[in-house]
Symmetry: C2
Subunit: 304 residues, 2 copies
């Protein structure tokens, strides 16, 4: 069995992951979620990218919000506000059940991998979904106000403080998910870097000891899909972050961040491919509908 290994952050990555899951037999797809965005909030262990992938792959994503869970209700949050609690990170009543269940199982000694897989199975997800590591890696953002935890910068501060630097606390000492390293050793068919934010969704995975070398050494093609269209990210702070870190946001700028890792790069026809070393595949990368997601996944698989 030769597997596709997809590295993914949240929303954009999850869309392509769903497309891939719609086309591939479940045993041929391994989806690896960034956990650098994970944090502890209100005493709960929250894993935003795992959750977005879980909800998207299970068909439970919230189409009107673009994040969180379908058929959501907000009684908890309303009441927490009335009690004077912290409400900057919005947790729906249904979403909360996942966080409470995960937190309790982690405290009981289960790994994040075990919890993620149990919940995925329970919700009918057949492809394998793994956290990048069972150890805590925490993305932090350096701003003129000092270092901020990622979700404080991203959600509480609404990305307003200028980004001066990004760090992945704990990454150097964390162990990459053994199942990821094993899959990289087992002659994968390809590695797909989903259209996620390179700086905060993909690079935390690549920062784990052994992952970059294993990708380079596995001999499989490595294909990334650009998260940038027309100098803008479809969603999220990718473009702003690139700009604040001194790079004009473009599809090419993202490819350059991945450097020698890439063999293939999927980007929009209108984007400038100058300076991109890997093989360029031109395709529509905006995924609004399930059909779009499957079409892009088909393009990706055809290129490999």
């Amino acid at each position: 069995m030769s597997r596709i290994i997809a590295l993914s952050g949240g929303i954009g990555g999850a869309k392509l992951a769903l497309g891939l899951a719609s086309l591939l037999p479940p045993e041929e797809l391994l989806i690896v979620a960034n956990t650098g965005d994970d944090f502890e909030h209100l005493g709960l262990s929250i894993s935003p990218d795992i959750d977005t992938l879980t909800y998207t792959l299970a068909g439970l994503d919230n189409p009107s919000l673009g994040w969180g869970r379908r058929d959501e209700t907000w009684s908890f949050m309303e009441t927490l506000a009335a009690l004077g609690g912290e409400t900057w990170f919005r947790l729906g009543d249904r979403d909360l059940a996942l966080h409470v269940e995960r937190t309790q199982r982690l405290r009981a000694g289960e790994t994040l991998t075990a919890v993620t897989q149990r919940i995925a199975a329970r919700l009918g997800i057949r492809a394998t979904l793994l956290p990048m590591s069972d150890d805590a890696v925490r993305t932090r953002i350096r701003t003129p106000e000092g270092w901020l935890d990622f979700q404080h910068w991203f959600v509480r501060e609404q990305c307003r403080p200028v980004v001066l630097d990004v760090a992945f606390d704990g990454a150097a000492g964390a162990r990459a998910n053994p199942a990821l390293l094993a899959a990289l050793r087992a002659q994968p068919r390809a590695i797909v870097i989903c259209p996620s934010n390179p700086l905060i969704s993909v690079e935390p995975i690549l920062a784990l000891p052994g992952v970059r070398d294993a990708i380079l050494g596995c001999g499989a093609p490595v294909l990334a899909v650009s998260p940038i269209i027309g100098g803008q990210a479809v969603k999220g702070p990718t473009a702003t972050m690139l700009r604040e870190l001194g790079t004009a946001p473009s599809a090419a700028a993202v490819a350059q961040r991945y450097g020698a890792l890439l063999t293939h790069y999927v980007m929009e026809s209108a984007e400038d491919a100058a300076g991109i070393a890997p093989k360029v595949i031109r395709a529509p990368t905006l995924m609004r509908t399930l059909k779009d997601k499957i079409a892009l996944a088909r393009t990706v698989l055809a290129a490999l």
Copy 2:
């Protein structure tokens, strides 16, 4: 200022507490909640009697369920069931906000007293509401299956296992709430034992070091309201527990448990007062409406 100190468990006790709060200036009423029913569940610190008192005093109690919170929704519980989580203890979405907020503040080092008072103030409760102790006291029930945590016996097992014994783990080493002991030293006007289950709602309070002696030594009248009408508890397992522990359930049996502590006892006209040592006040004790609660509170205050 001479205070009424009300000792209370959950539902029945909270009704009389609300009656008292409707009649007394807030600074003259101190309500002390049993915390023997408290437990940790799904990683949350849950204080059922404090919560029932809080919701009742704030006018937020759920009139149709008879427990929990008004205008409740159940998305969390539904979703937790779908995820395979523990659902034997039902937590509404709004109720959950209180548990999450309390748990987080306790973990941050606040006392249960501080958390309880902050939430009570936030919800507009003007009388003082205190937990009996800031230390953990855990009521346990001995059954033919062994010792069970109280909520496991009460909710999960629906009171089915026969009660052989009741213990208050941690009570001997716990410190009674200093504000309760101070109020008992400050010449209270009276102590009112609300119509709660003596075995599991009132006796945990009396089991705290110094409380019984302080009540006996304070010189104030001690009035209890019978939780038994016609050999039955209005709600909850009081009658069954008394019977299983070898006592025919009656108003008199409850008075006898309190023994020398009582100076006054309020009970229904139809109940047998034989063998009751304290002064008996006959009154309707069933509280369906706010009017009933205020009427009983008025009877109590008139007797003192």
